[in-house]
């Protein structure tokens, strides 16, 4: 049992730290914070990571991965979040990419992987459907064969950044035979195809990142089918298992908690900084202590995977506990912001309003409610653990 870093690890840490300090500059951050320049800024940053060779740490080296050890990956994430560096948009790099290199044919790999790595293509995800919720397998969007093509009809929902996307990867129904999971296929669709319509959904944080995507007789070549027809569910499940560890989001939550402490040192109530209030301290440490444990739960999973084992039962709690902690920190930030938690986006400056983080706290908190809902709600996660880990029927 050993969790210390080797000299090589420490050198790697310094390298990463230096890179972020230099490359993730203020101008870039300002462009990311502005909705008008957000997309371009993200692409610029991801291209910079690509040049650095660090765009896909989780990919196998042969497809463009970094070949890092588990400890290096862990260090990279620590440094990334400590520096406040935004994570890459996951839809290409951590979602469809791994499915393509694992289950796609050579032609598909050549065609799609470079665009993902270089961030030339912006991907989005077409899984959920209106009314289906966590019951993913009930999906109804159908793909009917017409010669060498499929004709797609149906709709997907909660599709993040569909308004920016060049491509969407979809689960579609190609058969109604057998169990519901069995007639599902995994399909890549060009968003410029005729018959696709993107309807914005304004979310509870008053922003537009979600969409409904409608498919009306959309023609997709069968060359865009990943793997075998009717086997899409298997590929999607493999994808879910692919990146178990990142889902707890511990490094980001730790950083957000540090921000809470910083803010709470500046907020004063009756002459005492909020951070000096024992009750507030207790609220912070309630979370901090759970996070300290969760960080090690994540390390245990990483270590077990690195030593060739499968992730143990402890991995299944990462999503539940991780999202609960994210929300707890978001809530605490709101408490610190007090009245200012309610401020909606405005043209007024921070100086005019009299506060600097209320509005962003609101946005994170409100949109953060989704974390326990999407990707299989925490209720569904508990059902899964009860069955798969605890053996309860």
């Amino acid at each position: 049992m050993d969790t210390s870093f080797s000299p090589e690890d420490l050198a790697f840490r310094d390298e990463v730290r230096a890179f972020f300090a230099e490359a993730y500059d203020e101008e870039l951050q300002a462009r990311m914070a502005n909705l008008d320049t957000f997309k371009d800024a993200v692409i610029d940053w991801q291209k910079r990571l690509y040049e650095q060779g660090w765009i896909a740490p989780s990919w196998p080296k042969e497809y463009g991965g970094t070949g890092w050890t588990t400890t290096q990956k862990f260090i990279y994430e620590q440094e990334r979040t400590a520096a406040g560096v935004r994570d890459v948009i996951p839809f290409g790099l951590t979602m469809v990419g791994p499915v393509i290199y694992a289950f796609g044919n050579d032609e598909q790999k050549e065609r799609f992987l470079p665009g993902i790595l270089k961030s030339d293509d912006w991907w989005c995800q077409g899984y959920s459907e209106p009314g289906a919720g966590s019951d993913l397998a009930s999906l109804k969007t159908k793909a009917e064969t017409d010669g060498d093509d499929y004709i797609i009809n149906g709709a997907k929902i909660w599709t993040s950044y569909a308004q920016y996307a060049d491509w969407i990867f979809c689960l579609v129904r190609t058969s109604n035979e057998g169990k519901r999971q069995q007639g599902i296929s995994f399909l890549l669709i060009d968003m410029k195809t005729e018959g696709i319509k993107v309807n914005p959904i304004i979310s509870i944080d008053n922003h537009h990142s979600l969409n409904e995507v409608e498919f009306n007789n959309v023609r997709v070549p069968k060359a865009n089918l990943i793997g075998e027809e009717n086997k899409g569910w298997t590929y999607a499940k493999a994808l879910l298992a692919h990146e178990r560890t990142g889902i707890a989001g511990v490094p980001d939550t730790k950083r957000n908690l540090e921000n809470v402490k910083k803010y709470a040192r500046e907020e004063v109530n009756g002459g005492r900084a909020l951070m000096d209030d024992p009750i507030f301290q207790q609220r912070v440490s309630d979370i901090e202590i759970e996070l300290m444990a969760l960080e090690f739960t994540e390390l245990r999973v990483l270590a077990s995977v690195a030593s060739g084992g499968a992730p143990g039962p402890e991995s299944s709690l990462l999503k539940i506990k991780g999202t609960e902690m994210q929300q707890a920190v978001q809530e605490l930030t709101m408490e610190v912001a007090a009245y200012y938690q309610g401020v909606l986006p405005t043209d007024l400056s921070t100086d005019q309003i009299g506060h600097d983080f209320g509005s962003s706290a609101r946005q994170s908190y409100m949109y953060g409610r989704a974390a326990t809902i999407y990707g299989g709600s925490n209720e569904v996660q508990r059902n899964v653990i009860a069955k798969a880990v605890l053996g309860l029927e």
Binding site: S128, G133, S134, D135, S138, I157, W158, I201, I202, S203, I204, N206, L210, E267, V268, N269, G270, G271, D277, I279, F280, R283, E331, M334, E335, A338, Y339, Y340, Q341, G342, V343, L344, T346, L348, Q352, I353, G354, H355, R362, M366, Y367, R369, A370, T372, I373, Y374, S377, N378, E379, R382
Partner: protein, 377 residues
Amino acid sequence: MNFDFSEEQGMLRDSVARFVQDDYDFDTRRAIADSEQGMSAEKWQTFAELGWLSVPFAEEYGGFGGGPVDVMVVMEELGKGLVVEPYLATVLMFGGLLQDGGSDAQKESLIPQIIDGSLQGSFAYLERQSRFELADVKTTATADGDNYVINGEKVVVFNGANADQLIVSARTSGEQSDADGVSLFLVPAEAAEKITYRMMDGQLVANVTFNNISVPATALVGELGKALPLIEDLVQRVIVYLGAEALGIMSQLNTKTLEYTKTREQFGTAIGSFQALQHRMVDTFMSYEQSKSMLYRAVCSLKDEDDGTDSEIHALKVMIDKAGKHIYGEAIQMHGGMGITDELDIGHFAKRLMMINTTFGNGDFHQGKFNELRYAS
């Protein structure tokens, strides 16, 4: 010992409930909140006609002479409709200070205007640094002959965008957080500079700056330098009223969530049939009932002032904070993806509860006060 409402209270309740039901559906509310003024002058006139604007005022000024229970009844129903019109700011806060501390001349001239709907008011008390401490006042009012000259800034002023008159707290003596030395002044809104912005609960608020604003001595509300008890007394009542509004909202959230779980199907069955959700809905039901009990306890304590009123008020704020978070949290979670859309009303109920929780101090702040009051050695 009874918890019944009088016949008059029942009629008042029905009147507000009917308005919300018939004239204030969610789309109407959204349109009003999104409008430039952030409220409907037409609806406000309806409030006047229905007599709601007169409820807490003494009969000699044309008021209904209602007590805390009457106001509670109104606020609970307004909460159910997420009504954005500034009943709290104009009638209960601005009007409440006038009623409690205003001179006869002030009351005679202003209260009838509030009651007939022609006057909008606002209480400007919050400052950038003051957070939840009412005594933390940096704005100053300096005597200058028969006048007072006001300098300073107030932030997040409820109804600040629409108010015709402001009551402003300003320091006439003492140091920044001294209990003594705070005074209240009536200031015509046009005298001050303001910037306005919108809050997530539909409020259009303002930061108001006073730059050498001169007001006559007759603008003083209450005694010079002795405004803090007046303010604290008002805040106690307002906390009860906000609690009533919160209770109305919680009732809506629980009802709507319950209905949703009975119809929403997942995995081939209504999600309300899942035992884990059932038990959680029992818990939100209990949170609601406990909040209601605490509200009743607090409103009864207002009438019986020698019986530890303060701690009942603090306890109410703590309870509403916890129950509110619990109830809106479960409501959003159980509505799933729909729960996090702006389209659905659930999120809007949640946002108003969140703003109520932070107004005049969050749960932790009040629990600290409660602890001090009851446990200090």
